[in-house]
């Protein structure tokens, strides 16, 4: 086969079809961005088989990148069959382009993973981001003093493997706190310290071996739990939610013998409603009769602004059917990576064996420091302070947004939590609005995405914990106005 004659080098600046600009704010590494641009240009016909691509050095200068970055991109493109190195003739687009269906590993990667969509990405918090407590209001001085003290005073053995079930003193503090504040009576031995809800679910599912079983999941329900549960090979049964929380009767109709139900009784995720007492009793009855387990995700129950805090569902559990899941991410800060689960009495030994094999265990330093933070009374003081602060920020945000955005949104405040739901008219498109909001730097989330089978309502979920004052609320409202156009 005769090789085509070398073509002149492609000049990305002069060809309007080829966009090689690099977005330095994207999570995707720059060399992968280069790969994608080249693939797109090839697939869309802006680059053809045999076209010569810029020399590494030239492109690196052009894009103001290190040579290594461009080299890496070219190496991948060559490995994947998009480019061909021809020595002195330079590098050209391969005459035998790979079949897109076979050779496009990039194509199977979701461009925005769900976590990334919730902005749990280690960057500066974005306005209205969900799930983030008021980081400015955390008592860092007190915390630093406590951590510093534990750091200096701990023995060398504390450098060793942490206990897989958690540090004793922390397990005791959590058990006491749950008894006093959430009406959950449990032994410290029932408390297992985890790194987050995912780790909690992993421990729970492995301990109670429910693979292959049916699993009630609120619809709409906590979006971050979905990928894990789907990978965990359980059969998700979406159960609709109304203004009284999970519709237990629907669950019983759809899947009477499901082995599990994951619920958010205090503050439904994402709708914010509270599971009614009647539904609570019905849910517990069902679990007792069907021999099923209920996982109560009590993620932000600590924040309640109207009336008295409701005790946990677990506090009504007479038959050891409820697994209680809590976290320090919202009441302290997410960077701790500390959460916990209360195992059923009858399954403590299994949780213990499984937690050993999960081989996790969180660093001693933070566990011990949280235990001290609780023991010295800072924890309850901080909670009390945050309840007042959030009540204020919530009221300001709602008032300003409602007033500025008029009839485009309706915010009905729910009694608790750290986020609010701005309902939209049915003919609005929350996904589209969210995309526009991201473009102006806001990090809300479209409600419709949280639905599985139920008819999605249109709305925007907004975290208000970091809306510091009226001025900030006004600034954000102005941005939202742009978004609504």
């Amino acid at each position: 086969m005769k090789k085509p004659p070398p073509k002149p080098e492609l000049d990305p600046k002069s060809d309007p079809g080829i966009d090689l600009t690099i977005d330095r704010t994207l999570e995707l590494p720059m060399y992968l961005q280069i790969c994608q641009r080249f693939k797109t240009a090839i697939e869309q016909g802006h680059l053809h088989a045999g076209d010569r691509v810029p020399a590494v050095r030239a492109l690196a200068t052009e894009l103001n990148l290190a040579r290594g970055t461009v080299e890496m991109a070219y190496r991948i493109l060559t490995d994947e069959g998009y480019l061909q190195v021809r020595g002195a003739a330079g590098t050209v687009v391969s005459p035998h382009l790979p079949q897109p269906a076979v050779h496009k590993p990039q194509a199977t990667v979701p461009s925005h993973s769900i976590s990334a969509a919730l902005d749990h990405d280690g960057r500066a918090p974005k306005p209205l981001q969900l799930g983030l407590p008021a980081l400015d209001a955390f008592p860092r001085k007190v915390w630093n003093r406590i951590v510093g003290h534990r750091l200096r005073s701990s023995e060398p053995m504390r450098l060793g493997y942490p206990h897989p079930a958690g540090y004793d003193q922390l397990r005791e503090r959590i058990a006491t706190y749950l008894g006093v504040s959430r009406g959950v009576v449990c032994l410290p031995e029932q408390v297992f310290v985890t790194t987050g809800l995912r780790n909690t679910l992993e421990l729970t599912l492995s301990s109670l071996s429910i693979v292959g079983n049916e699993f009630w999941f609120e619809d709409p329900g906590y979006i971050l739990a979905r990928p894990f549960l789907q990978n965990a090979a359980v059969k998700l049964v979406p159960v609709p939610v109304d203004e009284h929380g999970l519709i237990v009767e629907e669950g019983k109709r759809l899947s009477p013998y499901a082995k599990f139900a994951l619920v958010t009784p205090s503050h439904q995720s994402p709708l914010g409603v509270t599971l009614s007492l009647e539904r609570r009793m019905a849910l517990l009855d069902w679990a007792s009769n069907a021999g099923s387990w209920i996982i109560e995700d009590d993620y932000d129950s600590e924040f309640r602004y109207q009336g008295r805090p409701l005790p946990a569902l677990k506090s009504l559990d007479r038959n050891d059917r409820v697994i209680y899941a809590g976290t320090f991410s919202k009441v302290m800060f997410p960077g701790l990576r500390l959460a916990y689960v209360v195992a059923p009495l009858s399954a403590v030994a299994r949780f213990q064996a499984v937690s050993s094999n999960l081989n996790a265990g969180s660093p001693y330093l933070f566990q011990a420091s949280v235990a001290d933070f609780m023991a010295e009374g800072h924890f309850s003081r901080h909670l009390k302070k945050m309840r007042m602060l959030y009540a204020e920020r919530r009221a300001i945000t709602q008032r300003v947004f409602q007033q500025e955005l008029g009839d485009r949104i309706r915010i009905n405040l729910q009694p608790g939590g750290m986020h609010m739901l701005a309902q939209l008219a049915d003919d609005e498109n929350d996904v589209l609005l969210d995309e526009r909001a991201r473009a102006v730097g806001l990090a809300m989330h479209p409600l419709s995405r949280w639905y599985i089978d139920a008819k999605p309502r249109q709305g925007l979920l907004m975290g208000f914990a970091n809306v510091t004052d009226e001025r900030e609320a006004m600034r954000l409202a102005k941005k939202l106005k742009e978004v609504f156009g």
Copy 2:
């Protein structure tokens, strides 16, 4: 049915068949120990249907336990059908005892989980324990200064969610270190920070979606990886190991198209041998031809006492087939819970998406502190110091043990690592010896347990990193002599 007349209360002290003593050093919570004792007594016929058991208060006093603990045990025993509450007549052994096969959740729990067997349990390190660096020699002052500094100087946003792939500065430091010390050339974007080997395997397996595929596993091989891999629904193919490491030809014969191979080339776990250059090339060739992935677990390659450190297998990898796994547990300390994996170039985007969904992310504070520890040169200084210290401790331990235990053991020193293998004659029983060793407080591990299909050799694996001096070695040798009897 007529109820049997109430019997007098059982007195645990006077009945020789009933052992209710509680072992406060066991990991099993005390109320579960009580449950087990009762069940054993019932199953062995020391307690019969209708027998009255001690009142809660009496038993609590007797065992010097809180009443709540005994109450909890009775509640479980009642729930499980072993006891029956008869109000004023007291609590009795149930006349309808549960079928052991159906009602014994305890029976399915391994009495010693594997991690517990390796003593990763958050308690004080035990003599000869495996996998534990010299905790006494870690530069805690320097470390505490660095952590303290990061603690005080970090911005509030650092309290937020950590980046799921790891803290940028740490990823950069790791990439540089691997290039300089292990011959592994990689981009920081290829480095993913994890919490340990299990998390590394989870990320890798999910990213490369190999569920259901065959998986080469060294036989004998790293015992802590086994339960995870078995649960991960891969088909483990045990491939024998000889003095040159994994027998690649055997692997090709047993499972030519396995999707994965997990190997420990620098210092085979547990035999301590090094994978020969010939085998390395054969393994890489196989992976390239079969389109398979090699996971290189380079867990303690940093410690090498004879000759120059071998570069990593990954350094020979021309076709992007090797996934490199390292950890800070051995070179710094296990309580950090920090490890890392170098993703193949072609799979970086997938690793990134999966790490977001795993929703892990380690606390910023430790990641940033390790980055500083490396940047300030403490890391390489510490490594150098430990290499010399371990060489010494290793020599002392071997000499003293060999001399004191004469021909019962043979310790052939391997060139690297933190543990040694005391080989035993074929007619010895390493499991039995290990049990006796545990009884006198030693925490070795029996080699035969690490085998799957291959004919197990008898031996004892001993961590020498914490054998501080000749006197300590002699003390341990004396204990070992008792064990050998």
